[in-house]
Structure formats: structure tokens, C-alpha cells
């Protein structure tokens, strides 16, 4: 079944075209990567899919709900972790998680099973204020907060930017285990090496999709030896 369906989506801010006719579909339970450099339109796409922005043209559905018309119902079904750290720095780890749980009418205990692999790592610091956490721990808390209400689809906008290598590897391991529990995950990253951890990826540049496939297929098709070279090859073809 299709979890996310995007068709011919465009978005412009005044003169700036952030998205130019993007179409793709993500199947339920997929770990789908959105790979592209800064300013490619990743965040705009995430914000449209999480009902925060209205598309200029085209349409998109998440869990068969239209992102414009059914935005209220959709907001209960998705988990969103913005690129910027967006929790309350003056609240403790536990208070943040509790707050986001109650926003969705649930409790930490009810959602604990799902967040446990992530949250248990920062639980020893649950009385520490979120603003005082390290980069990696902040990401784990933000992921816990996005997961606490057991969303069907998880949107992670550059979750590993500014995080050390060890935490990044851990983070991707966590995403794999979440995927195994049936959660559809759309994740964006500017790092090519992380693309290999996704089931399928869409390469995005200047608001256009260059290619959609498994990372291995993209490398094979372009005749390059690494994913990074394949991406650069596709980008130069585009121009």
C-alpha cells in the first residue's frame, strides 16, 4: 500500500522556485531517503507533507489523506522532526517527552515500547534540561518526541546534521529497527554515505528529482563506482 504519494508538486516563494513538479510514491513500511545538497528543496517538501505549508500546485497524500484538505486528521497520524532542534530548552528531557505525549492525548508509558530503544539511551539524563544536552542526545530526544504517539509515518528532516559519526551510525540503526516495526519513514540527508542505509532514495537538486531507485541500482545504472560519484554524474547531466 502507498503511504506517501506526491504528484507534480510545486512550491514557490515569490520569485524563488523551491520545488518544480516533484512526483514520487513511498510504500508502507519503507525507509525512503531524500538525498540532495543544501537548498535543494528538501525542507520545503517536508513542510508540505507535514501540512505546514500549502503547495503552489500539484497534490500530495499521506496515508491516503490529502495534505491540504485533511490536514487536521493527518496531524494525528504523522511524526515530524524538523531540521532545527525544536524542543523546549528550559524543559527537562522527561518534561519535553511528557508534553508531546499529552499533546496527542497519550502518555509516556503508553508509547514507551516504541520509543524505548531510543529513549532508554537518554533516560539517565531525564532530569537534565533539553538545552543542556549534547547534539546527539538532542536528536535522540527529538526522535523520541516525534515517536511517542506511535505515528504511522515519520518525517525526519536532516536528523543527522551536526551529529558526530558514532551517534549518526546509532541513529540509522534505530531507524532500521523502527522500519521493521512497520513505520514508514521519510528521511532527508545531505550526506551521500547515509543514502546506502535507505531502502530506496530520491535524489533531489534545485527542486527537481533526478532519480528514484535503490542506491545500488542508481550506482549500477550510472556506471559509477560509488554513490557519491553517481550523484555528481546525475547532477552534471541535469545541467
Amino acid at each position: 500500500m502507498t503511504a506517501i504519494e506526491v504528484s507534480n508538486l510545486s512550491k514557490s516563494y515569490g520569485d524563488v522556485q523551491a520545488l518544480r513538479g516533484v512526483s514520487f510514491a513511498v510504500q508502507e513500511g519503507e525507509l525512503f531517503g531524500l538525498i540532495g545538497p543544501d537548498g535543494a528543496g528538501k525542507t520545503t517538501l517536508f513542510r508540505i507533507l507535514t501540512t505546514l505549508l500549502l503547495p503552489s500546485s500539484g497534490s500530495a497524500t499521506v496515508e491516503s489523506l490529502d495534505v491540504v484538505a485533511d490536514y487536521r486528521r493527518l496531524r494525528t497520524l504523522v511524526g515530524y522532526m524538523p531540521g532545527r532542534f525544536s524542543l523546549y530548552p528550559d524543559l527537562t528531557v522527561e518534561e519535553n517527552l511528557q508534553f508531546f505525549a499529552s499533546l496527542f492525548g497519550t502518555t509516556i508509558r503508553e508509547g514507551y515500547d516504541l520509543v524505548a530503544p531510543v529513549y532508554s539511551q537518554i533516560e539517565p539524563f531525564r532530569h537534565r534540561k533539553a538545552g543542556k544536552l549534547s547534539g546527539g542526545m538532542k536528536q535522540k530526544l527529538a526522535l523520541s518526541c516525534a515517536l511517542i504517539h506511535k505515528p504511522r509515518v515519520l518525517f525526519l528532516d536532516e536528523p543527522t546534521t551536526g551529529v558526530d559519526v558514532v551517534s549518526r551510525i546509532e541513529f540509522w540503526d534505530m531507524l532500521q529497527s523502527l522500519r521493521q516495526q512497520g513505520i514508514t519513514i521519510l528521511v532527508s540527508t545531505p550526506y551521500m554515505d547515509e543514502a546506502q542505509r535507505c531502502g530506496r532514495v530520491a535524489l533531489i537538486c534545485d527542486g527537481r528529482l533526478l532519480d528514484i531507485d535503490t542506491p545500488e541500482q542508481i550506482v549500477l545504472r550510472t556506471g559509477q563506482s560509488t554513490f557519491e560519484e553517481a550523484f555528481i554524474h546525475l547532477m552534471s547531466q541535469q545541467q
Binding site: R47, T50, T51, L52, L53, L54, Y71, R72, R75, T76, V78, Y80, M81, P82, R84, F85, S86, L87, Y88, P89, D90, L91, E95, Q98, F99, F100, S102, L103, F104, G105, T107, C145, A146
Partner: protein, 349 residues
């Protein structure tokens, strides 16, 4: 825990974990009250008065004794008729009472400070006409409610109106826009929470703080500035609470419109403060304003609050007398509440 309660709890934590801001919020009313109550004053504390008389009749002697014994008048003695101008110009006295041969009495004043001289004139007349039976002048002036023309009676209600709207609006005006700036609004919006919950939840903790401020202000104005509470205390509290709620909603409304905390603060502090002072009747009586400005005062909440609180605190009137003001303030509060929910953006753009 339900959504609303946990939202209120979160807002309380924000306030409690920022003790410096809380201290400012709690101390500012005290400082402003003291400043306005003591420093700004147009009341008559001491009028220097001289007198000119050609004949010392019983009436004249009685009036002179009244002047000498009045605690608010310093009697500077008798002068000759030709010295009046010089005495006023030198500042030796600010008023001279002339007892004419025909029994008429005239008051000559140094009107360089018009408001002070106006009150001095009224006050002197009231001394001279106190004993109406023997008076040669048929003028009878009574000053009800404020016989000494104490400026606290005028300023304290005005200052209260100003302080509430300033502090309450300043507190709430950053609350929504702060979440926009910090990015937490982004996560908040991708949740089922409704704007009405956000707006109300942000108001409640500040309402508690403001009620604490209300208590300090009322205690200060009564015990330190000697402001009477002639009317019913519960009527007074209802009026003030309604006005506080209105001010909090005003701040929230600004917060939903502004794009940054700086803009929100500027709107509240600069754009609102000046008209609030000029048009509320605190500095200048509404009746004296030019017609256009007079019409403008109808939309200034402080004006209605000032009218109502004077009626309650000074004149001692009850609910029936401030019915109109209460309804207007209530309608304004409701309108601001609805407007802030309508203007609360459900999306990022």
C-alpha cells in the same frame, strides 16, 4: 493528563524557570505605582498666600484667620496694594487675596503653572467661602470626593489602568511569537492541538501572576498612596480582573500577528503606551480633547477602565453605575480573544 492541563503546566514551567523576568514582572508595578503616585503630583501641598486689606472688618479678620490656620496654606502676611505684582513675580507668594472696600474679595494668582494655579484658586475659594452664612460672596464651591484635590485620586486609577495593560500585554505579547522564533511552533502545529487551547493555555499562568500584581497594586494604593476604596471591593476586583484578562488577550493578539519578539515588544511598548496615556483620561480629561481624539478614546480600553474605577474607588458606586463600562470591556476582551484565535496561523505561512 489532558492536553490543556499539560499545556498550562508547560507555560508555568517557562515562567518559573526564568526568575529574572518574573522578578521584573512583579517589581515593575510597584516601582511604577510609587513613581506615579509620589513623583507626579499636581495636588496643593503648600500655597504661599499674601493678603491686601484696607479695613479690618470682622469678615476680613475671620477670613485671615481661616487662611492662617489652614494646613495647606502658608500665610505670608499683609502687603500693600502696590506690591502685589512684585510679590507674585518674585515668587514670594503664588496667590494674593485682595479684600476690597466694598466687601468683595478677589484672588490674584501667579498662573505660570496653570494647572497648579487653577487648583489653588479653587482651593482658596473654598477656604474663603467656607463660612457661607457670613460670606459676602454668593459663590459656593463644593469639592466632592476629593476636597483637597489630591492628585492620587486622579492618578492612581489612571496609573492602574496603564500598568495593567502595559505589564499584561508585554508578558503575553512574546509568548506565541517566541515559539515561532525558536521553531517549537513547527512541531506544535504538527499535532492535533487547537489554536484556542494554545491561546487560553498561554493566558492562564499570566493571569495568576497579574492577580498577584493586582493585590500589590491595590494594597500599595490604599495604604501608601492613601487611595480610598469607597465602593464594594468585590465590584472593584471583578472590574480589575476583567481588565487584566482583556490586556492579556491584547498581548496575545499582538503575538499572533508579530513575526519576531522584538516587533511584538515594540508594538506593545511604543505603539500602545503613548495613546494609552494620552487618550485614557489619565493625563488629560477626555472631555477636554478635540472631537477627533475624543472619538478615538472609545476604542482605548484604559479610558473605560479609568471611568469605571473612579466611580468604584473614589465615588463608591456599585455595579449599576459601571454597567456600561463593564459591558464594553467585556466586549473588547471577547473581540480580542476571537481575533487572536482567528489570526493564529495554523500553518507556517
Amino acid at each position: 493528563m489532558n492536553v490543556f492541563a499539560s499545556f498550562v503546566r508547560k507555560e508555568c514551567i517557562h515562567i518559573l524557570r526564568d526568575p529574572r523576568t518574573m522578578l521584573i514582572v512583579l517589581l515593575m508595578p510597584v516601582v511604577l505605582m510609587m513613581l506615579f503616585g509620589f513623583a507626579i503630583s499636581t495636588e496643593i501641598k503648600n500655597i504661599n498666600v499674601a493678603a491686601v486689606a484696607s479695613r479690618y472688618t470682622t469678615d476680613v479678620r475671620r477670613d485671615l484667620t481661616a487662611l492662617e490656620h489652614n494646613p495647606y496654606v502658608t500665610f505670608k502676611g499683609m502687603i500693600r496694594e502696590g506690591e502685589v505684582d512684585a510679590a507674585l513675580r518674585s515668587g514670594r507668594c503664588s496667590a494674593v487675596v485682595l479684600f476690597g472696600r466694598d466687601g468683595k474679595r478677589h484672588i490674584v494668582l501667579d498662573a505660570s503653572n496653570s494647572s497648579l494655579s487653577a487648583s489653588a484658586a479653587i482651593y482658596l475659594r473654598s477656604i474663603l467661602t467656607a463660612d457661607a452664612s457670613a460670606s459676602a460672596l454668593p459663590v459656593t464651591t463644593y469639592m466632592r470626593h476629593n476636597p483637597q484635590l489630591k492628585s492620587a485620586y486622579n492618578f492612581v486609577p489612571g496609573v492602574m489602568g496603564l500598568i495593567f495593560i502595559l505589564i499584561c500585554a508585554l508578558m503575553t505579547c512574546v509568548s506565541v511569537v517566541r515559539e515561532k522564533e525558536s521553531g517549537t511552533m513547527e512541531v506544535l502545529l504538527v499535532s492535533p492541538v487547537r489554536p484556542v487551547y494554545v491561546v487560553l493555555a498561554k493566558m492562564i499562568p499570566y493571569l495568576v501572576l497579574s492577580l498577584f500584581n493586582l493585590a500589590t497594586i491595590l494594597l500599595l494604593s490604599h495604604y501608601v498612596l492613601e487611595m480610598p476604596v469607597a465602593g464594594n471591593l468585590s465590584v472593584l476586583l471583578i472590574l480589575c480582573t476583567l481588565y487584566i484578562v482583556l490586556s492579556l488577550f491584547l498581548g496575545l493578539f499582538v503575538s499572533t500577528l508579530a513575526q519576531s519578539q522584538m516587533v511584538a515588544l515594540l508594538i506593545c511598548a511604543m505603539v500602545m503606551l503613548v495613546p494609552m496615556m494620552m487618550l485614557s483620561g489619565m493625563m488629560f480629561p477626555v472631555e477636554n480633547l478635540p472631537p477627533v481624539l475624543k472619538q478615538l478614546t472609545f476604542i482605548v480600553p484604559a479610558r473605560w477602565f479609568n471611568d469605571a474605577i473612579r466611580k468604584v474607588m473614589v465615588e463608591g458606586l456599585g455595579f449599576a453605575a459601571i454597567w456600561k463600562e463593564l459591558s464594553i470591556l467585556f466586549a473588547m476582551a471577547l473581540a480580542l480573544f476571537v481575533a487572536s484565535i482567528k489570526k493564529f496561523k495554523d500553518r507556517l505561512e
